[in-house]
């Protein structure tokens, strides 16, 4: 690491000419290991503080040069902070606030689970209670990257401390920008984990030219550098087959924006933030005087005129009477399935599935638009 750090010292953070020499004050958060307290056997140690830089903070201080100063280091054992989250985080924030920092930098936590999460947790708490910029660094596939995405700015690091010098360089550069309240460029260029925020930019090349450039990079075996990374779709393992629908409780769920007429539930027509549930135990069918669709992704005329076209309750009731369905569940579940983030819908799905499962529902028919 030493050689890398030396190389970095030769390229300290840029400072505009004439700018005041005042250094911004950094408080650095570390776990017990990086703070030099001890390894796994010391993971139960409670929060503590030291003046100045410790461990990776020394490298950070060197890279910051005369732009910033690590005035203090606050640490906590990984187990302690994960097991006493609320209280430990509060103690850490109090220790941090005593140094009156301009910015708090945590970690980097790399690919680790507990440490990375602790870094995110501390950053979020500092941001909320002290209202100063915060920054950490983690690997893109670490639990913290998923948990704190869009909540805490995270430099994108390697998955182990072998990437320390590189991580510290990125963190120092981002920290200077944050303190100076400079607008950050795109995640890929600045080296942070994408926050989910999208900003329009003009390009001097047409989309066709950029696509060919990308193809050429790919053919040359380089990173094609997509402008639009594809979302990662999870593969959901199929549920076991139902033994016999005629003996089973079946529920109907829809993402077709079905609501009670007038939408008293105030379900959104897109970017849904919730799902709704209707008691249909006494309903022989879905009638337009009681139900309608407010989905924003298609013309709802047909579904609102005849809501059975979205929730096939009329047909399902007949099949229940005729014995094809053991019992129809007493509730229909609905949300609006367009526009929103997959993470929201995953959460809705888990919540609805949990209710259905505890109500003894064995099979679900989901009508989708």
């Amino acid at each position: 690491m030493r050689d890398d750090v030396q190389a970095l010292i030769r390229a300290p953070c840029e400072r505009e000419e004439g700018e005041a020499m005042t250094k911004f004050k950094v408080v650095h958060y570390l776990n017990q290991f990086f703070a030099g307290v001890g390894g796994e056997e010391k993971a139960d140690v409670g929060p503590g503080a030291r003046e100045g830089a410790v461990g990776p903070g020394m490298a950070l201080a060197q890279v910051l040069g005369d732009t910033g100063e690590v005035v203090g280091t606050v640490y906590c054992g990984d187990n302690y902070i994960s097991e006493n989250a609320e209280q430990a985080t509060q103690e850490v924030v109090e220790l941090i606030s005593q140094f009156r920092p301009d910015i708090v930098i945590a970690g980097p936590g790399f690919g680790s689970g507990r440490y990375g999460l602790a870094c995110g947790q501390v950053c979020q708490a500092v941001k909320e209670s002290l209202d100063i910029p915060v920054l950490t660094g983690v690997h893109k596939d670490s639990p913290a990257a998923e948990t704190y995405k869009g909540k805490v700015l995270m430099a994108s690091t390697k998955d182990s401390a072998a990437g320390m010098a590189e991580a510290i360089a990125t963190i120092a550069r981002l920290a200077s920008k944050l303190v100076k309240k400079e607008e950050l460029g795109p995640a890929m260029e600045e080296g942070y984990i994408p926050t989910g925020r999208r900003v329009n930019r003009f390009s001097d090349k047409t989309a066709a030219e950029r696509a060919v450039d990308m193809l050429m990079r790919k053919l040359r075996g380089e990173d094609p550098r997509t402008e639009w990374p594809l979302p990662k779709y999870e593969q959901v393992p199929p549920a076991d087959a139902l033994a016999n629908a005629a003996n089973s409780t079946i529920a109907i769920v829809t993402e077709g924006g079905i609501v009670h007429r007038g939408n008293p539930e105030m379900l959104e027509s897109g970017w849904a933030t919730k799902w709704v549930r209707f008691d249909t135990a006494e309903e022989p069918e879905m009638t337009p005087d009681k139900f309608q669709s407010i989905h924003g992704g298609f013309d709802t005329t047909a579904a609102s005129a005849e809501p059975n076209r979205m929730v096939p309750l009329d047909a399902a009731r007949e099949m229940e009477k005729e014995g094809d369905i053991g019992k129809l569940h007493d509730y229909v579940y609905s949300t609006t399935g367009n526009m929103g983030p997959i993470a929201s819908f995953k959460k809705f799905g888990q919540e609805i599935a949990a209710e259905l499962s505890s109500a003894g529902v064995q099979g679900v028919i989901l009508t989708a638009t």
């Binding site: 779709y233 199929p238 087959a241 009329d314 638009t369």
Partner: protein, 53 residues
């Protein structure tokens, strides 16, 4: 998109309906689709599978 058992819907604005048909015809269409859906639920699948009506 992760759905394991799929029965093709009639159209986006009315997945289980057909406004060009009289009500009784539409309801029959819904029953056929639901029967196919129950058949799908009763079938073991290893990956996303389309069940045709």
């Amino acid at each position: 998109m992760g759905a394991s058992r799929i029965v093709k819907g009639k159209a986006i604005p009315h997945p289980v309906g057909d406004p060009s048909q009289p009500y009784e015809g539409e309801k029959e269409l819904r029953k056929e689709m639901l029967k196919k859906a129950l058949e799908a639920l009763e079938t073991e699948v290893a990956s996303p599978t389309i069940f045709s009506t």
